[in-house]
C-alpha cells in the first residue's frame, strides 16, 4: 500500500483531551494517518526511527469501532513495549483489520514525550467519506 497524495493527519480541539484525525483515499489509509496523529500526541513522528515492526489485528462490526480498536491496540503496544511508532500500514477486509506499525523504543532525550495516552474514546468517533471522496477517520483520545 502506498500513501496517496491526499493522505494527511491533524489534531482537533477538545477541552480536556485531544482529537486525532486522519484523511486518505481509503478507510485503511485514513486509519494509518489517524495513527500518525496519535503518535504526534506523544512526540514528533518525524523524530521516530523505524527499527522495529509490530503487527496488530482487530475485529469489529463497523468501521468506527474498528478505528477505536485499532488506536487502542496501538496505545496498548506503545505502553507495554515502551515504544513509539512513526509509520503505519493498514489493511481492512471483512470486519478484520490488520495493521503494521514501525517504530523504536521510546528515547526520553530524543523524543521528549509530552504526555501518555490512556485510551481512544468514542467521543467524536467518525469514519466517513467526505464530499470530495476522501475518507476521514477521527476520535478523541484521553490523555
Amino acid at each position: 500500500m502506498t500513501d496517496s497524495d491526499s493522505a494527511r493527519w491533524e489534531h482537533f480541539e477538545h477541552m480536556a483531551d485531544i482529537g486525532v484525525r486522519g484523511f486518505g483515499a481509503t478507510p485503511a489509509e485514513a486509519f494509518a494517518q489517524a495513527a500518525l496523529a496519535l503518535s504526534a500526541v506523544v512526540c514528533d513522528p518525524a523524530s521516530i526511527r523505524e527499527t522495529e515492526k509490530v503487527e496488530v489485528e482487530c475485529e469489529a462490526a463497523d468501521l468506527e469501532l474498528a478505528l477505536a480498536d485499532w488506536l487502542n491496540a496501538l496505545i496498548y503496544e506503545m505502553a507495554v513495549r515502551g515504544m513509539v511508532f512513526g509509520r503505519f500500514q493498514v489493511d481492512i477486509a471483512n470486519d478484520r483489520l490488520k495493521g503494521i506499525a514501525w517504530g523504536e523504543p521510546l528515547d526520553l532525550q530524543r523524543h521528549r514525550p509530552a504526555v501518555e495516552i490512556k485510551g481512544a474514546t468514542y467521543t467524536e468517533l467518525k469514519v466517513a467519506r467526505e464530499a470530495g471522496g476522501l475518507w476521514r477517520a477521527q476520535c478523541v483520545v484521553d490523555v
Binding site: H11, V42, L65, I75, V115, A120, T121, Y122, V143
Partner: protein
C-alpha cells in the same frame, strides 16, 4: 453555555427540567459566570445521563464540570440496581480512582526554603514521572492479584507505608469486592512496570504551603495551620485502569444493545448493574481502585524516603486520600427513604458529612476532608464534607479547577520553558521531563479554581477549610 433552558434555583444551582427521554432533571452547580463558561456539551451530556435507566433523583454537574466522554467530567449520577439501574464505564472514566492524597509535613516554609532546589531534585530523581518512566517494583502474577485485592493495605503489608495510614484512606485503604479475575491479562501486562509511578498529563506531586485558613477549628482538627507545609500527590490506577476502561467501554457497547438500552450517545455505553457484564465491570473497577490506592501508597513511601534524607524532621502523616473517578455502592437518603445506590463520580469527589459511618472517628465532627487539586501555579484547596451535600449531590463535590483551554491552544499560548521560568520567579520550582507537557498543563489553561471552590462552598457541596499554594511541583 446558553443558560436559557435552565431554571435558576438559587445563586449556585441551575436545573434543566426533564425533557424528552429524561427520567430525572439535570442539576448544575456553579455561579452564573462558571455555568455560562461551561461548554454546551456539559448540559447535553448531563441531560443524556438523565436518560439512562434506573437513574435516581437527578443527574448532577459539579462547578468544575467540562466536556468529557459520555458523562461530563464533574458528573455525578446514582442508579438503583433494583429499578433496572445501570453501571457505565464512561461514568467512571479511563483513569479509575484517580485521586489526591495530602500528607502533613509538620514543617513551616522556613525549614524547606533553604533546601527547596535540593528537595525538588531529590523528589524528581526518586519519583518515577512522565511517559516511559518505570517503577522499581515488579510484581509476578500472584503479587499483582494480591495488590488488586489488597490496595493500600497490601502496600503497607509489603513495607510501603505505616498501618496508621490506612485509617486515612477511603475504604480504609482496601476496596471490598475487587475481582482480579475480571481484569484481563492485557490490563495486568500494562501495569507490570507502572507500580509506584506518577504518570503524566495533569498528575503531579506538589509541596504546598497552607496560605489561608477559612475554618480554624476544622483546620486544627485536620492538623493544619497557616504556614504549614504539606505534600499532595495526584495520580491514579495507571495503565491497568486505562485498559479496564478501554475494554469495558467496548464490552458495554454490546451489552447495551443486548439489553435494549437506548443510548443517546455511544460513550454512555452501560450495562444493567445486575447483568454479568455489569457485575464483571464492578469487580474489575474495584480492583483498579485498589491499584490506585496501592500506587498512591507506594508514592507516599518514596516521598517519605526523600524527606528522610533531605528534611529528616518532617513527619509526613497522611491527612486523607480521596478518589475522583469511581462507582461506589452507598446508602443515601432519597425523598426521606434510605436507599442503597451505585453512585458514579466522574471527576467529582466524595464528600461525606459529619458522623457518616464510613469515615474514621477523627472526622466524625468535621466531615471528610475533600482534597481539591490545583495545576502547578494555582492554588489547591482542602474542604470538608457537609451534611447538606447528602441531599444536594449524593455527598459529592468538585475535584479540581477543570480545564478551560484545549491542549493545543495552551501550546500555542505558552512555551514550557517560559512557564517554568515564570513560576520560578514566583518561587515555584517545576521539575518535569517534558516542556510541551508543561505548556499543555500551564496554570492559565485551567478555570479559576478559587471560583470553583467558592461555588462548591456556597452551593453547600462542601465547606472551605484551607487554601494551599505550591512551591515545588513534580509534573508528569
Amino acid at each position: 453555555m446558553n443558560i436559557d433552558r435552565l431554571e435558576q434555583i438559587d445563586a449556585y444551582t441551575w436545573r434543566l427540567n426533564p425533557e424528552t427521554g429524561m427520567h430525572v432533571p439535570a442539576i448544575l452547580y456553579g455561579d452564573e459566570a462558571l455555568v455560562r463558561a461551561m461548554d454546551d456539551k456539559v448540559l447535553e451530556q448531563a441531560a443524556n445521563v438523565a436518560r439512562l435507566p434506573g437513574i435516581v433523583q437527578a443527574s448532577y454537574a459539579m462547578p468544575d464540570a467540562h466536556w468529557g466522554y459520555g458523562f461530563p467530567i464533574g458528573g455525578v449520577a446514582a442508579f438503583d440496581a433494583g429499578a433496572g439501574g445501570v453501571v457505565s464505564a464512561g461514568g467512571v472514566g479511563f483513569d479509575v480512582s484517580c485521586g489526591v492524597r495530602t500528607l502533613l509535613t509538620g514543617l513551616k516554609r522556613a525549614a524547606i526554603e533553604p533546601v527547596k532546589p535540593l528537595l525538588a531534585d531529590a523528589l524528581y530523581a526518586d519519583i518515577p514521572v512522565g511517559l516511559g518512566s518505570h517503577g522499581k517494583i515488579r510484581l509476578d502474577a500472584k503479587g499483582l492479584d494480591a495488590m488488586l485485592k489488597g490496595g493500600a493495605q497490601w502496600a503497607v503489608e509489603q513495607g510501603w507505608g505505616e498501618a496508621r495510614d490506612l485509617a486515612r484512606i477511603e475504604e480504609h485503604g482496601r476496596m471490598e469486592g475487587a475481582r482480579p479475575e475480571n481484569v484481563s491479562a492485557r490490563a495486568k501486562e500494562r501495569q507490570r512496570a507502572e507500580m509506584g509511578t506518577l504518570g503524566s498529563g495533569n498528575h503531579y506531586l506538589e509541596v504546598q504551603e497552607v496560605t489561608e485558613i477559612f475554618d480554624a477549628g476544622t483546620a486544627q482538627s485536620f492538623g493544619i495551620a497557616e504556614g504549614d507545609m504539606v505534600v499532595s500527590i495526584h495520580c491514579g490506577s495507571r495503565g491497568l485502569g486505562h485498559q479496564i476502561g478501554t475494554e469495558y467501554l467496548r464490552l458495554m457497547q454490546a451489552a447495551a444493545k443486548q439489553y435494549g438500552i437506548a443510548l443517546p450517545d455511544r460513550e454512555l455505553a452501560c450495562a444493567p448493574i445486575e447483568s454479568e457484564v455489569g457485575q464483571d465491570y464492578l469487580g474489575a473497577m474495584r480492583a483498579a481502585i485498589n491499584c490506585a490506592l496501592a500506587n498512591r501508597q507506594i508514592l507516599t513511601h518514596l516521598t517519605r524516603q526523600v524527606f528522610a534524607r533531605v528534611l529528616p524532621a518532617a513527619r509526613l502523616e497522611l491527612l486523607y486520600d480521596v478518589s475522583h473517578n469511581t462507582c461506589k455502592f452507598e446508602e443515601h437518603l432519597v425523598d426521606g427513604e434510605r436507599r442503597r445506590l451505585y453512585v458514579h463520580r466522574k471527576g467529582a469527589t466524595r464528600a461525606f458529612g459529619p458522623n457518616h459511618p464510613d469515615l474514621p472517628a477523627a472526622f466524625a465532627e468535621t466531615g471528610q476532608p475533600v482534597l481539591i487539586g490545583g495545576s502547578m501555579g494555582t492554588a489547591s484547596y482542602i474542604l470538608a464534607g457537609t451534611s447538606r451535600s447528602e441531599t444536594l449531590s449524593f455527598a459529592s463535590a468538585c475535584h479540581g479547577a477543570g480545564r478551560s483551554m484545549s491542549r493545543h491552544q495552551a501550546t500555542r499560548t505558552w512555551q514550557g520553558r517560559q512557564v517554568i521560568d515564570q513560576l520560578a520567579e514566583r518561587g515555584i520550582l517545576i521539575r518535569s521531563p517534558s516542556y510541551r507537557g508543561v505548556a499543555e498543563e500551564a496554570p492559565g489553561a485551567y478555570k479559576d479554581v478559587d471560583a470553583v471552590v467558592r461555588a462548591s462552598d456556597r452551593a453547600g457541596l462542601a465547606r472551605l477549610i484551607a487554601r494551599l499554594e505550591p512551591i515545588v511541583c513534580i509534573k508528569g
